[in-house]
Amino acid sequence: MPPAKQKPVLETDFVRALGELLNDLSLAEIAYEKGDFRVRVTRQQAAMAPLAAPAVTVTEAARPAAAVGAPSEDYGSHPGLLTAPMVGVVYTSAEPGSPAYVSLGDTVAVGDTVLLIEAMKVFNPIKAHRAGRISRVFISNGVPVEYGEPLLLID
């Protein structure tokens, strides 16, 4: 059974505090992780640069802080990268308290359910697209993911 719907609680005050810290200290980025809670705040450019060339960070910076998972820079073209087929909230186990479908280092077969993504109260099983070992986990339980966002790396 999928878990009862948990609307992710966004820790806005904490995120705000991190943001203020970032500005006070003139930092470029703060990544924070505790249990399944993960935040990354990066500084937005003073004026948006809506021009072509190298402005890729703008989108990143503007993303909802709590939706930002761990970086995945080098895996974009990796054949083992499993990405979110839909926007939603990702769950690592069938219900709260039950064991995770997979953990780092586990071996999976093609078609094994590795995660759930909930979109509008429907829990969609996410299946391994190839056999192999889980060599990276980009998400944690209960975080929102965008379409195309990296979930797992199956080596």
């Binding site: 966004l10 503007a62 939706a67 926007v87 379409y147």
Partner: protein, 447 residues
């Protein structure tokens, strides 16, 4: 009070809504397909969520993805823009069921006006003239023939669920009726999933004149005057202006009062547009658009209102705060829809914008999400910019439009700017003597 709006659209209208949000201190969430990751509205939004791959069915037309994005971003309202899900009553209902504000009319009004036959019946009962025709869906060819003879040929056979010219045939005599019905029904089934047809009088030289209404949740309704959108090609508007070159203030007041009374009687909310054919001093209702329209800026320019801002205000429950007599019309405004198309063949011309330079100065407004280096994706509508020009009167407005079009530089792709330059220099346009068929005739080389 609305704190955060998810904008369920793309392109210039997403940017238009985003600008209104920013000016009102409301946070914005841009949703986008992977094809639009670099789009202007995505770059400027406070938050962004990628909701799917390029095909609109899997992204901008995907209600589940959009509602999920609203949930994970904690948005409290959704603005649908135009096109996509903006006139989808089921989507509007889903939004409300999830406890979010749908920035637009009620699902019931969207549904009512989405059914073209029910819409006509409703407004006719409220006293608005409609094009003479079948009261409802026609059952048989014989049925159609009887009605056609009663109202007189030529007649139009139209899909009840239609729009955009699909499922629509002109019939000039009894002999063509059977085939027209068969073709229209097939097109209607393919395009809208419903084969219901109706028959109505075909007007030879009508203008397309539409009246903008604005209503709050407290029963206050005003109209913002008319737009003349007679310059159409394949039922797509190309140039729109306000006021219409042919309407008198008396006619404006009269038709305005009629639509306001109708919207009031219906308990309508938010923005909406009553579209009419106009011929020989008579208005014939054709349909109502239950959403913000592409051409809303020309109305903003002549009545000095920010229609999107008003739309957000009334969605929050605010009262309009002004009456019909406070709405004043000053000057003249014209909008050119600039498409990424070959200006002669209308073949789509997606690709990368090399140089982009917008015209400026007094009376020139650009609503566009273009920038130098932007890649116009091939997946969506070809409209890439709206040039809106205003002036003290129609002549000054036209002169300004001419100079602004000459200043506009969009290179790397083909655009319809040369078409606009050609059209606005034609005597019929300069004199305001055009009807809904004029542009088609021009394109066929009959001018």
């Amino acid at each position: 009070m609305i704190q955060k709006i998810l904008i369920a659209n793309r392109g210039e209208i997403a940017l238009r809504i985003l600008r209104a949000c920013r000016e009102m201190g409301i946070r914005s969430v841009a949703v986008h397909s992977t094809a639009d990751a670099d789009a202007m509205h995505v770059r400027l939004a406070d938050e962004t969520v990628c909701i799917g791959p390029p095909p609109a069915q899997e992204s901008y037309l995907n209600p589940v993805a959009i509602l999920t994005a609203a949930t994970i971003s904690n948005a409290d309202a959704i603005h649908p823009g135009y096109g996509f899900l903006s006139e989808n009553a089921d989507f509007a209902a889903m939004v409300e069921e999830h406890g979010l504000t749908f920035i637009g009319p009620s699902p019931e009004h969207i549904r009512l006006m989405g059914d073209k036959i029910a819409a006509k019946r409703t407004v006719r009962e409220a006293g608005i003239p409609v094009v003479p025709g079948s009261d409802g869906s026609i059952d048989s060819e014989a049925d159609a023939r009887r009605i056609a003879r009663a109202i007189g040929y030529p007649v139009l056979v139209k899909a009840a669920a239609g729009g955009g010219g699909r499922g629509m045939k002109v019939v000039t005599d009894d002999g063509q009726l059977a085939e027209a019905i068969a073709t229209a029904r097939a097109e209607a089934l393919a395009a809208f999933g419903s084969g219901g047809l109706y028959v109505e009088k075909y007007l030879a030289h009508p203008r397309h004149i539409e009246v903008q209404v604005l209503a709050d949740l407290h029963g206050n309704v005003v109209h913002l005057g008319e737009r003349d959108c007679s310059l159409q090609r394949r039922h797509q508007k190309v140039i729109e202006e306000a006021p219409s070159p042919v309407l008198t203030p008396e006619q404006r007041s009269k038709i305005g009062a009629l639509v306001v009374r109708t919207a009031s009687a219906l308990g309508y909310r938010s923005v909406g547009t009553f579209e009419f054919l106009y011929e020989d001093g008579e208005f014939y209702f054709i349909e109502m658009n239950t959403r913000l329209q592409v051409e809303h800026p020309v109305t903003e320019m002549v009545c000095g209102l920010d229609i999107v801002r008003e739309m957000l205000r009334v969605a929050e429950g605010s009262e309009l705060g002004f009456e019909q007599e406070d709405v004043r019309f000053v000057g003249h405004a014209i909008e050119c829809r600039i498409n990424a198309e070959d200006p002669e063949t209308f073949a789509p011309s997606p690709g990368t914008i090399a140089e982009y330079h917008a015209p400026g100065g007094l009376g020139v407004r650009i609503d566009s999400a273009l920038y130098a280096g932007y890649r116009v994706p091939p997946f969506y509508d070809s409209m890439i910019a709206k040039l809106i020009v205003s002036g003290a009167d129609r002549r000054a407005c036209l002169a300004r439009l001419r100079r602004a079009l000459a200043e506009y530089v969009i290179s790397g792709i083909k655009t319809t700017i040369p078409l606009h330059q050609r059209l606005i220099d034609m005597p019929e346009f300069i004199d305001g003597r055009y009807d809904v068929h004029w542009l088609e005739r021009v394109m066929r080389g009959e001018h």
